[in-house]
């Protein structure tokens, strides 16, 4: 018997042959890149845009906080007092010069975090290239959104459908610390062409995810789901999103089970804690 099990161990490499033949019938994972592309994530970081208010005024006030926070030192801003007769921005000053060098930008979007007026935000477009260095420096001409509030699409940029839809400050979670009192209440200004945007899905059911397109992510990443509760097939964000798009919905039964387990765990933990205290 020992000999047989040894032999079976020795011949286990035949599993590889079986697997490779099975792969012949499986669907191909390759995307034919320039023609077809993988769907982008709702929070994909891309090239910046400079937003305007609903009345057409620029949001930038030339405070240079973005330039100060930029770790790559790729932003150059000069502010100027607004001309009294035809102001560019509603405040005292406006961004007179605004330049981003995309040979240096690392798409960290700390500038978006720093901006007090949600003037600079990002689109999802990242596929663009240049034939000389000066083309890589985007000025206000390229960065400021057009009269309909859409990012300007330069001929050398590869814009795909939906890349320009989720710009602006709507992306910030409505209640970052989980404070339920502020859930579903937008805390940002209106956008040219879009008005006040609906917030991204977060902690509760209080908002309309179909408007923001973030329903998928919220279904997949509920607040208290443990990592081992996620089916291994769905590990990796790409796998999760594509699977969810195919199936429509994440396995709700598993989710509920996970939540129940978690509640039980917490109860157990409280009991243990009380026991320990009692023992002391």
């Amino acid at each position: 018997m020992g000999f047989l099990s040894e032999l079976r161990k020795d011949l286990s490499f035949f599993g590889g042959f079986k697997l490779t033949i099975q792969h012949l019938t499986r669907p191909r994972v390759t995307f034919q890149y320039p023609e077809e592309k993988k769907p982008k994530q709702p929070r994909q970081h891309g090239r910046h845009v400079l937003n305007r208010y609903e009345d057409g005024m620029e949001k930038c006030i030339g405070c240079e906080l973005c330039a100060g926070v930029c770790p790559a030192k790729c932003i150059y801003v000069r502010g100027l007092d607004n001309p009294p007769d035809h102001p560019v921005s509603p405040g005292e000053r406006y961004g007179f010069v605004y330049e981003i060098n995309y040979l240096r930008c690392i798409n960290c979007m700390l500038c978006v975090e720093a901006c007090p007026t949600e003037a600079i935000t990002d689109s999802k477009m990242f596929e663009f290239s240049f034939t000389n260095r000066s083309d890589a420096i985007y000025t206000k001409t390229e960065l400021v959104v057009d009269d309909e509030g859409r990012p300007q699409k330069m001929p050398w940029e590869d814009w795909r459908e939906g890349d320009d839809l989720m710009t602006s400050g709507w992306m910030r979670a409505t209640a970052p610390a989980g404070n339920a009192a502020y859930e579903g209440i937008p805390q940002w200004s209106g956008e040219l062409g879009y008005g006040v945007r609906q917030g991204e899905g977060g902690q509760s059911e209080n908002r309309d995810d179909s408007v923001t397109g973030s329903k998928l992510l919220r279904d997949l990443l509920p607040g208290h789901l443990l990592k081992e509760d996620i089916d291994p097939v769905h590990l990796g964000v790409q796998g999760r999103v594509s699977r969810a798009k195919k199936q429509g919905e994440f396995n709700k039964v598993r989710l509920e089970q996970a939540r129940d387990r978690l509640i039980a765990k917490r109860a157990q933990w409280k009991v243990d804690k009380a026991n320990r205290k009692a023992a002391k």
Partner: protein, 426 residues
């Protein structure tokens, strides 16, 4: 001269102009077909292996990516040809040719089809049929090792050097097993000429050496040949995760292309050799259709070779690379004894059944003795009573040297794990 050429019917009437032209045409056609076949083989390998990995593979250049190899070749041709400063320049330049030329030469003795008559000249569809044809195969595959070895050595770089050391050791280990399986075939076929070997296997498939030699030599030959080709799972020579690229790391441009070419050409040639030795070469059913009868043997031959090529690709997709010591174990402890035993058995069985029984008994005794010997050897190395420290705890040479020079305590005690356990307890 006459003696050497005697085997080929083409030279029966002496060396005339027509005969000369036929020979030249055969050589040119063989060369061109082989070049085309290599191009297709590279494409085929890339496509087939991507199928097995749920990928698509080359599909941009030409229909189904067929011209990808051509595009790669043109790109390589126009790249800068670098020669490392530390290299031995002459040997560095020579090495690629030592690999490519034997790869072409081997194919010269492979019978790709039956016999054809053109303008009253009857000749075989193979470039040459020397009386010692199969020895040429062994000799050429031996020379190809020199190419790899010298390429690694002449590069003046450490990874290629390691690769070439591995290559030579691997070739030496597997050449013996390869040769002994060839001998088994020769015993059955009674000839060294490849044409004669193929003719002896004519007819239905139970005449093939695969059946006649009893399947085992084919399996052993297949394993040894895969190792000889440096193909996965025996590709320790080019193990790119260990040795960058192996012996061809320092090569670029057209010289690298030559290595690349030779590698795939060797795959085709070795498949062809295997088909010749064990699968009857061009043997197969030939329907009696006038004028195109000669096509069918070529078709059968091509089909068999393609099947073997696909099998090599499958190996590459399915099997993980063997460790170097596993490779040596397989070669010396398993393949060589098994080949030798089967060769002796076949030789004895061809003589008489009494001899067969005697040799069978001898092989059985030998097998037991060898197994025991291997076990004792493993025991000496790995057991608790081993004189050597266990493998995971062997100190690095530098540490041993430091201990010896600095006189840091009792060496044996500190190296031996049982002793150190006692120290801990004390």
């Amino acid at each position: 001269m006459n003696g050497m050429l005697a085997a080929d019917h083409l030279f029966d009437q002496g060396l005339t102009l027509a005969v000369f032209i036929i020979v030249v045409v055969k050589v040119v056609v063989a060369f061109a077909v082989l070049m085309g076949a290599v191009t297709l083989m590279i494409w085929f390998e890339r496509k087939a292996i991507s199928d097995m990995q749920s990928r698509i593979g080359p599909n941009r250049v030409g229909p189904w990516g067929l011209l990808q190899t051509l595009a790669d070749g043109i790109k390589l041709f126009f790249k800068e040809d670098l020669i490392p400063a530390e290299s031995d320049r002459f040997v560095f330049k020579l090495a690629p040719y030592l690999v490519v030329v034997p790869a072409f030469l081997i194919f010269a003795v492979i019978p790709v089809g039956g016999t054809v008559t053109i303008a009253h000249h009857t000749f075989d569809l193979q470039v040459a049929d020397p009386p010692m044809g199969i020895l040429l195969v062994l000799a050429c595959s031996g020379i190809a090792v020199y190419g790899i070895m010298l390429a690694g050595w002449a590069s003046g770089s450490k990874y290629p050097l390691m690769s070439s050391v591995r290559a030579s050791a691997q070739m030496v280990s597997y050449e013996a097993a390869l040769g002994m399986n060839v001998v088994t075939v020769l015993l059955v076929c009674n000839s060294l000429s490849t044409r004669a070997i193929v003719d002896a296997q004519g007819g239905a498939f139970w005449h093939w050496n695969l059946i006649k030699t009893g399947l085992v030599p084919f399996v052993l030959f297949l394993i040894a040949a895969t190792a000889e080709l440096n193909r996965p799972p025996f590709d320790v020579v080019e193990a790119d995760s260990e040795l960058v690229g192996g012996f061809n790391t320092e090569y670029s441009s057209i010289r690298f292309a030559l290595f690349y070419l030779a590698e795939f050409m060797n795959t085709i040639t070795m498949s062809a050799v295997m088909v010749t030795l064990f699968f009857g070469g061009p043997a197969g059913p030939v329907p009696n259709i006038p004028h195109i009868r000669w096509i069918f043997p070529i078709m059968w031959f091509t089909l068999k070779v393609v099947a073997f090529c696909y099998m090599y690709i499958w190996f590459r997709a399915a099997l993980p690379r063997m460790r170097y010591d596993q490779l040596m174990d397989l070669g010396w402890k398993k393949l060589i004894p098994a080949s030798l035993a089967w060769m002796l058995l076949v030789a004895a069985a061809l003589t008489s059944w009494r001899w067969a029984l005697i040799v069978l008994a001898a092989v059985f005794i030998g097998w037991i003795a060898l197994t025991q010997a291997f076990e004792i050897g493993a025991d000496r190395e790995l057991s608790d009573a081993s004189v050597l420290p266990t493998i995971g705890q062997r100190p690095l040479p530098g540490r041993v040297l430091r201990r010896m020079t600095d006189g840091d305590g009792d060496e044996v005690a500190s190296l031996d794990d049982t002793a150190s356990d006692e120290e801990v307890e004390a």
